[in-house]
């Protein structure tokens, strides 16, 4: 959908929001065009995306690769991160940004691995945000020694809807999907599954006890995101976690 607007010289046209030319001066799209209507044509995520770009610049300047890790509650993000920190210790200097609505329980679990952890409690007057946004991540950056890090893993708030909509300045997006969630989830939460570069199919140690249809799940995933990399893992037993760590290291290397 193009961005239609009128210029001071009387010409009008439309083009994509991101492309085109400067709209200072002479772009009348923000001015009143009728007796009681003001044209706006402004993206509602624009403000967040501006801060996300600044976060991305900050990561780039300090040589840090940032990965946004998302999932539903209880899919295994924190357990996977514990396994990850154990494996990456001494190989990648890693920091954690931990998003949680109320508690420091997850951040506490991630302590003791030698990785600095910046906790963001998203609680606000309305009972807590269901996601991290770019300004929240920006507020956590001063609490991490970015100059001394190679990698920042951002553990988002457990939720399959909201986090997918917010760019926080990451370089790559990964999600943990647990096979206990059912094969239909890519079709029910397409924005999340579509936005990810990698999907980790977790809790595969439970395969013998479930009627999980792996082929059906993969078909649903491919329908919304044909390009995503897929890995199988059990964060509990550690199976498949090395392959995830290899993927993480490749992301860091691609930015080194």
């Amino acid at each position: 959908m193009g961005r239609f607007h009128r210029h001071a010289d009387g010409t009008d046209h439309s083009h994509d929001e991101t492309g085109g030319h400067s709209h200072d001066p002479g772009d009348l799209s923000g001015y009143q065009t009728g007796t009681d209507r003001v044209e706006v044509l402004e993206r509602i995520f624009g403000e967040n995306d501006k801060t996300a770009a600044a976060n991305r610049d900050r990561f780039a300047v300090t040589g840090v690769c940032a990965i946004n890790l998302m999932s539903s509650p209880g899919a295994g993000k924190t357990t996977l991160l514990r396994q990850t920190l154990t494996r990456l210790a001494g190989r990648l200097r890693t920091g954690i940004i931990e998003g949680d609505i109320q508690t420091s329980l997850d951040a506490d679990q991630l302590g003791g691995f030698g990785a600095p952890v910046a906790l963001i409690n998203t609680g606000n007057g309305f009972g807590g945000e269901c996601h991290l946004d770019a300004p929240m991540v920006a507020s956590a950056l001063p609490r991490l020694p970015l100059d001394d890090l190679d990698l920042v893993l951002i553990e988002n708030v457990g939720n399959l809807v909201c986090p997918a909509e917010f760019d926080v300045g990451e370089h790559a997006r990964a999600m943990v999907y647990a096979i206990t969630e059912g094969e239909d989830k890519p079709l029910k939460y397409p924005v999340m599954f579509r936005s990810c570069d990698l999907v980790i199919v977790n809790k595969i140690d439970l395969l013998p006890y479930l009627d999980f249809d792996t082929g059906g799940f993969l078909a649903n995933l491919r329908a919304v995101n044909p390009a995503a990399t897929v890995l199988s893992a059990s964060a509990r037993t550690g199976e498949g976690v090395d392959a995830w760590c290899d993927w993480v290291r490749a992301q860091v290397a691609a930015r080194g």
């Binding site: 959908m1 706006v40 009972g127 945000e129 809807v161 397409p190 579509r194 329908a223 044909p226």
Partner: protein, 130 residues
């Protein structure tokens, strides 16, 4: 979303309303606003009813109290890179060409989430409200 007390609401529509308020205030420049026209693409997970309800909460007690959000839903359309067919997708968010079955598609529309325009209240008389 069912209507519950504000203390336990946990939806991203709430923070999106905060962004909407910032944009609207900037464009309204102090003039009273009656309607905010918002486009929401089918591929966004923004629930129109929730957005409208959250706006009541967020705008309450502010200069924008009494204004309402009017949602224009934009259907999702994909173009197939294999056969060049452009079509609306169905109810399922499946990005597969209905003509040739290719998954090599691009989204033509359906990801919009923008404020298109504002209607001002009582513009005929200074300070009057609708």
């Amino acid at each position: 979303m069912e209507r519950r007390r504000a203390g336990v609401i946990r939806v991203h529509e709430l923070s999106l309303c905060g962004s909407i308020a910032n944009i609207v205030e900037r464009h309204a420049a102090g003039r009273p606003v009656s309607v905010i026209h918002v486009q929401i693409g089918q591929l966004r997970q923004v629930v129109p009813d929730t957005l409208v309800y959250c706006w009541e909460l967020v705008s309450e007690g502010t200069q924008l109290a009494g204004s309402r959000i009017d949602v224009e839903a934009v259907p999702a359309r994909i173009r197939c890179r294999a056969c060049d067919q452009v079509a609306e997708i169905g109810d399922l968010p499946v990005l597969v060409c209905g003509e040739c079955g290719s998954t090599d598609t691009e989204i033509v529309s359906g990801e919009e989430f923008m404020i298109t325009s504002l209607e001002l209240a009582g513009t005929s008389a200074e300070g009057a409200s609708a």
